[in-house]
Chain length 279, copies 2
């Protein structure tokens, strides 16, 4: 482990997962990536709401007492370290079980927390990103759409595609060729007064910052955000493009498919609205 | 761990996985389930061929030296235990890595082997199974279809559905409503001289025993097997239904959707052909 990362299992400073674990065996679990500033998680209730929806869909025990305890333990230790900006990954698995897909009748979920000290300052808008294309398309799976579960091979392959192209991230399309997201966040385009983002009924992850853009930051600036079908050509022709995730907040896009964007006034204004919410 | 199970990590008797591991974080890996008789894996070359295809698609390092070494270590110890029938799960993950979806440029894959002593005798055809329906449909993902990767939430949900219905397994449909498989194996139906099984171009796992049925056992009995579209109603109306996996070989279906089957002559004959291949 590098010095700037800490791991806890079920709230103890344990960096080994007892085997078997259904999280490893089947991706039978969920995760959240939280931004912490001065050891305080941002938008915790949004993360916990998504996690809870996931627990329900995967038919996990719903009690989140262990999760909250593990998070509190981590935050206390991070505060002690004095780390200003931290990316915290919270993983919940269905724990151990007998051989095979069928979970135990009374699973004992496990919680892994990994805290990584961040190298960049998330209160400064990140440098505009270059986007490429991913060869992998997201599978259509309405039953799991929106959730942040552990079955993330598509995002891994997308990340490999982005690296091969020497870009920061890549556009992820659905099976029909519509844009769903980028590999690490939800995507938005600006055309005139209109901000649009793809619907996520078939695939993709419902991001916490996506929700904030739609419900808070864009309305505060007098914009409305429509969920609408977006094609890759719409991206290239947009006046402005940006994407959102917990770590960047909002990140402007500088280049995609030959198009370039030098200015990002809407993204910058939304980022300012985001900053206005920070303590 | 129950006494009838053993676990190795990278060939050592270690039952803890160092964190982080991309297999846990993203399901970034593959697995195989092998049947061992007297410590010898059956159809090893078929399993290794599928695993190798998966390593290629996921862009893992292709060398399988570690995998073969881990398997050899496990088999030696199983032989020492004198366990006659063993289910062996071989899991390959992309190992550790920095935060985020992007794999390290030079990943160091890890191999987890879990051997479980089997309670049933796999050389006897299993009791006919009752099948139910799963609420989850398999996502369409041609890029990963056929592979046995670690993203298996759909099978977990299918297993939960089967347990709720009090049946042995459940039919898994694709997004269009066609039959793809059951939760734990590939499905076949018999109509007259014709044996059919669903194509697996969009989703599902290409089973080793499915391949044996199609290429060896059915032809040896004068049957041909067609890959063809199968609807749930085709299952209910078939003369005979069975499914295949590494542990059962072939298992007849006794009941689905109100239909029942008392005799399974084709499945029994194929099972006999399978037995004829055993050492």
């Amino acid at each position: 482990m590098p010095d700037d990362s800490l791991i806890w299992l079920n709230g103890a400073a344990i960096t080994q997962l007892p085997l078997p674990d259904r999280g490893l065996d089947f991706g039978d679990g969920l995760f959240e990536t939280l931004l912490l500033i001065d050891a305080k998680p941002l938008y915790l209730s949004l993360h916990m709401a998504r996690l809870d929806r996931g627990l329900q869909v995967l038919r996990f025990p719903r009690g989140v007492a262990l999760i909250e305890k593990c998070l509190a333990t981590a935050c206390l230790e991070i505060a002690g370290k004095g780390w200003r900006y931290v990316s915290l990954r919270l993983t919940v698995t269905r724990g151990a079980g007998p051989r095979g897909y069928t979970p135990p009748r009374e699973p004992e979920p496990r919680v892994v927390v990994q805290a990584t000290r961040m190298l960049h300052d998330p209160t400064q808008m990140a440098a505009p990103a270059a986007l490429g294309d991913s060869r992998i398309r997201l599978a259509s799976q309405p039953a799991l759409a929106g959730l942040k579960h552990l079955n993330r091979l598509e995002q891994v392959l997308c990340a490999l595609d982005a690296r091969e192209q020497g870009v920061d991230d890549a556009l992820l399309l659905g099976q029909t060729g519509d844009v769903v997201s980028v590999g690490t966040g939800n995507v938005f385009i600006v055309r005139g007064d209109q901000i649009s983002t793809p619907p996520l009924d078939d695939c993709g992850i419902r991001g916490t910052r996506r929700q904030q853009v739609m419900q808070c930051w864009a309305p505060a600036l007098g914009h409305t955000v429509a969920e609408s079908r977006i094609l890759p050509s719409d991206i290239a022709q947009a006046e402005e493009v940006f994407y959102t995730n917990a770590l960047y907040g909002l990140r402007p896009v500088a280049a995609y498919a030959g198009a370039t964007w030098a200015d990002h006034p809407v993204c910058a204004a939304l980022f300012a609205a985001y900053m206005g919410e920070l303590p």
